[in-house]
Symmetry: C2
Subunit: 163 residues, 2 copies
């Protein structure tokens, strides 16, 4: 998840334009293409990613959680429903390790208790208002810091595991 200082993950208009402040040429290797069986993205995250050149999930199975299916550009599919039944379906197909991105998708994963690793990439910006990363009254949970690193762009990336 990309978050701002203070935890907002999008502006008031759901805009993700601010993510561009850490775009560099060539792109920094922030581990953006994880080694997983599938990626499940929220619609806003997908709309942001689809604008990236090169498309970072080329060759990966991508499922987009959305009520508004769109044209598939790289083989991605669209799923209108909640996360848990989707993960159950995927598990039956042998999909074990899923990467979640997007506030809503990650919150659903945390609520369902299916998140093993959590990577939070903090960008050097205060948005001041907008959509909070965890705003829905999640249960309190402790995590174990596995690693943290920073990038020239000012990104600070920390990875946590369930204790």
């Amino acid at each position: 998840m990309g978050v701002s200082l203070g935890g907002y993950i999008a502006g008031d208009d759901h805009s993700l334009e601010w993510l561009k402040i850490v775009e560099t040429d060539p792109p920094e290797d922030t581990g953006y293409t994880p080694s997983v069986d599938a990626l499940v993205l929220g619609r806003n995250s997908y709309d942001a990613v689809i604008g990236f050149t090169p498309y970072p999930y080329s060759g990966k199975r991508v499922i987009v959680l959305t009520t508004r299916p769109a044209d598939s550009k790289h083989g991605e599919t669209f799923y209108n429903g909640s996360l848990e039944p989707l993960l159950e379906t995927l598990a039956l197909e042998g999909v074990q390790r899923v990467y979640l991105d997007g506030g809503n998708a990650v919150r659903q994963g945390l609520e369902a208790g299916v998140v093993d690793d959590l990577t939070i990439s903090t960008l050097p910006i205060i948005l001041g208002s907008g959509i909070a990363l965890f705003e829905r009254g999640l249960p309190q949970s402790r995590w174990t810091l596995v690693s943290s690193r920073s990038f020239e762009s000012g990104l600070v990336q920390a990875t946590y595991q369930r204790p």
Copy 2:
């Protein structure tokens, strides 16, 4: 500022109990005693700090922003008012460099544009609900990452400057 994953700085009851998850014996040297002329703390931060052993601000000038003055235990004084006039008064006394702690104090400093450096210490916990670090509709602002480091306790500390 100590923040949780997702940016909440206190639980729903304003509790700072969760800060204890990174307490170690002996304490980690997280630079908790900064080299400044004075410290201005919000009341909740002060109430948390006053319970620490040893008291981390021994020998420092400490001013507590509060509407409910308390007994001074280490020479700290109490100020019932907003941050900017306090900083103006301090500047007349030659106090140049002030350390702010507490959500309300830091927000007032950011609104007034007097924050040069910002240190955010992220603890490995999701609070899920509570008080957000920057919830008052601050203007959007870019920052420059100066340094980041992590500690055995799972604390990730990042320091930013105004560009």
